[in-house]
Amino acid sequence: MRSTFIIAAPLCVLAVGLAGCGGTTGSAGSGTTAGADCSSSKVFCVGLVTDGSKIDDKSFNQAAWGGVQKAKDSFDAQVKYIETTDAKDYAANIKQFTDQKFDVIVTVGFLMADPTAAAAAQHPDTKFIGVDQSIDTEKVKSTNLTGLTFPADQAGYAVGYLAGLLTKTHKIGAINGLEIPPVEKYFKGYEAGAQAANPKVKVVGVYHPAGGQPFNDPVWGAGEAKKQLAQGVDIIFGIGSNTGNGALNEVAKTSGAGTTLFCIGVDVDQWGTVPEAHPCLVTSAEKLISDGVGELLSQANNGTMKGGNFIGKTGISSLHDFDSKIPADVKTKVDVVVKKLADGSLQTKVEL
C-alpha cells in the first residue's frame, strides 16, 4: 500500500491544486481579442484561418494578419485567428468562426478556395475574403465572397527586369517552393522581365520536390542557392516562404554579398522580416497583401464589399541600403517598367 500512497498522494495534491488555481478562462496572449459578442451589430469581428503555415511565417499569412490588425486599429474590430494544422480541418476551422457569428472571415491561400466557397454559400450573412483565391464567377454566385488575387507575374517581371540589368555574369537564379500557379507566376514573370532587360541572360530555376514541406525547408533552399552560386549565378530570387528564406540567407552569407551577389525577396518586403538577408537583399517582389486585405475589410465594414474577384496591387519594395549602390539609370528604367505594368501599357505575356 505504501507504494500506492507514494504515487497517489502527489497526484491528488497536484489535481486539487490545479483545478482551482488561476489562469484565464478566456483568450490568452497571441494578440487576439474577441471576448465580446460578435452577433451584436455594434461589434465587428474579423476572423482569419491560415492554410497550414503559421501566422508568423514571415510572408503570406503574416501579411494577411497584418491587414486584419490594421482593421483592428482603424475601426476597432475584434480579431482572432486559427492556425490550421491539418488540411482536412479547413471547413471545421471556418466553422469555428461562423458558429460565433463573426462578421468577416479571411481565409488565406488558394488551397482553401473550395471550403471557403462552400461556407460562403451556407452563410450568406457573413462576408468572406479569400486571399489568393480566384473566384470562378460563372460557377460561384455568392455576393458575400471576394477573392483577393494578385498579378504575381507583374511583380516577378519587375524584379526580373532589375536582375537582368544588374547581373554581371548574365546568369540569374530562382529557388522555388512547390510547382503551383502562384509560384509559377512569379517565376515566369521573373524570366520574362529578365529577358526583356537583358536578352543574353540565362535564368535558372529549381522547384522543391513535393512531400516534406516544400514551403518550409530552408536547408534545401540554402543548399540549392549554394549550388547555383557555385555555377555562376549572381542574383537569386527566393520564391517560397521559408524555403526561399533559406536561399536568401545563404546568399547573404557568401562573400561578395551586396557587391557582386544579390538576393531578392518575395510576397512582402523581406528587409523587415528576414534581417539576416540585409547584406544582399536588394529588393522584394511584393504582393500588397496587407493593403489588399485592409482595403477589403474596410469595404466590408462600410457594407460596400461586392463579391467576385478583387485584384490587389503588386509592387517592388524600396531598395533600402542599396539605393545608393544601384546606378541611377537602372533605377529609372525599373521605375518606368513598374509604372507601365501598373497602368497596363506593358504586358508580361506570362501564360501558365
Binding site: 549550388k227 555555377q231 545563404e250 534581417p275
Partner: protein, 333 residues
C-alpha cells in the same frame, strides 16, 4: 608488405568501388568544373547531418541500443542551439547548447531503455513526439543569430581540386563531421573501447562474464552518441541556415537510420552512403528543366536503389546480434 596485400585482397570490393567513384568524379570534374564542384559540394552539404545522425545510430546500436529517436534529438538540438545563440548573442554558447540538448535526449533514451528497461523502439518514438511537441510549442518567431558561423578555407587541403572545394571549404561542424568518421572507425575497430562496445552489442552475457559492466557502458555510449546527434541538429539551424523553423529536420533522422543500415554500421560506408544520397539529391535538382523525365523519378532514384542494394546484399549485412534487448545480469543472451 604481405599484410597490406592481404588486407587489400580482403577489401577489394570496397577499394575497387572507391577507386571507381573517385575516377568517375574526376572525369566529371574535367568535363565541367563548375557544375561538378557545385554538385559534390551540395552532396556533402546535404550529407553532413545524415552522417552525424547515422553515426549516432551506429554507436548506439553497436552497443546494443536501438535508437529511433535520432530525429527528435536533432530537432531539439537545432532548437536549443538557435535560441540559445540568439539569446546569449554568442555562437559558441549556441553550439554548446545544441550539443548538450543532443546529449540530454541521449541520456533520456539511455535512462528509459537501459535503466528502466523500457522498450527501445517505443522510447525512440516517444523522444520524437516529445521533441516535436516541445520545439513547436515553445517556438517564438523573430529570434536572430548574432552572426553567421565561420566558413573556413583550410590552408593546403582546400586547394586540392574537387575534394578540396567539397570538403575543406567548410564550417566547423561540417569539418567535425568529416573528422569524426575516421576517428570513429579507428575507435570502433582498433581500440579497446571499440572492442568492448561491439562485445556488449553482440554477446552481452559473455562480455559481462569477462568483467565489462554492460549496462553502464551502454548508458555511457548512448549519452556520448548524443554529442553527434546534437552536432547534427546544431548544423541544421546554425551552419546550413541561420534560422530555426518548426520541423527543420524534415525526416533527416529517419533517413540517417536508413543510411546507417545501408552503411552496415560501419563509419566509412556510412559516409559513402550519405554522399550517394546527397549526390542523387543534387542530380535531381540539376536535371530539373534540362531533362524531361519527371523530376520525381530522379528524386526517387536513391530510395529505389537503396532497396535494390539492400536486397542484393542480403545476408552479408547483419545488425549487432543483441541489440534491442535490455540486458539483465543472469538472464542469458
Amino acid at each position: 608488405m604481405g599484410g597490406f596485400s592481404a588486407w587489400l585482397r580482403r577489401q577489394r570490393l570496397a577499394v575497387g568501388t572507391s577507386l571507381l567513384i573517385l575516377i568517375a568524379a574526376y572525369v566529371f570534374y574535367f568535363v565541367n568544373q563548375a557544375v561538378a564542384t557545385s554538385m559534390f559540394s551540395n552532396a556533402w552539404f546535404f550529407a553532413v547531418p545524415l552522417v552525424l545522425g547515422a553515426l549516432t545510430g551506429v554507436v548506439g546500436e553497436r552497443s546494443g541500443v536501438v535508437n529511433i529517436g535520432i530525429e527528435g534529438q536533432m530537432l531539439t538540438a537545432a532548437f536549443a542551439a538557435f535560441f540559445t545563440a540568439a539569446a546569449t548573442k554568442s555562437l559558441v554558447t549556441g553550439v554548446a547548447a545544441g550539443i548538450l540538448a543532443g546529449v540530454a535526449m541521449g541520456a533520456f533514451l539511455a535512462w528509459t531503455t537501459v535503466t528502466a528497461r523500457m522498450d527501445q523502439i517505443i522510447a525512440g518514438v516517444v523522444i520524437n513526439i516529445i521533441a516535436t511537441g516541445i520545439t513547436s510549442f515553445f517556438y517564438k518567431s523573430g529570434a536572430q543569430l548574432p552572426a553567421n558561423m565561420p566558413q573556413w578555407n583550410l590552408p593546403l587541403l582546400s586547394s586540392i581540386p574537387l575534394i578540396g572545394d567539397t570538403f575543406f571549404h567548410t564550417g566547423p561542424i561540417a569539418l567535425f563531421a568529416l573528422l569524426v568518421v575516421p576517428v570513429l572507425h579507428f575507435a570502433l575497430f582498433r581500440t579497446r573501447w571499440g572492442l568492448r562496445t561491439r562485445a556488449i552489442g553482440e554477446y552481452p552475457s559473455a562480455a559481462d562474464t569477462a568483467g565489462i559492466n554492460v549496462n553502464r557502458m551502454r548508458f555511457v555510449n548512448v549519452v556520448l552518441a548524443g554529442i553527434l546527434a546534437g552536432a547534427a541538429g546544431t548544423y541544421l539551424s546554425m551552419e546550413a541556415t541561420s534560422s530555426f523553423g518548426r520541423g527543420i529536420t524534415a525526416g533527416r533522422g529517419f533517413l540517417a537510420l536508413a543510411i546507417m543500415i545501408f552503411g552496415a554500421w560501419r563509419p566509412l560506408r556510412v559516409v559513402t552512403a550519405a554522399m550517394f544520397f546527397g549526390f542523387a539529391n543534387a542530380l535531381a535538382s540539376q536535371l530539373q528543366g534540362v531533362v524531361h523525365t519527371p523530376q520525381q523519378f530522379i528524386t526517387l532514384l536513391p530510395y529505389v536503389l537503396t532497396l535494390v542494394v539492400l536486397a542484393a546484399a542480403a545476408g552479408r549485412v547483419r545488425a549487432p546480434a543483441a541489440e534491442g534487448v535490455p540486458f539483465v545480469k543472469g538472464e542469458g543472451s
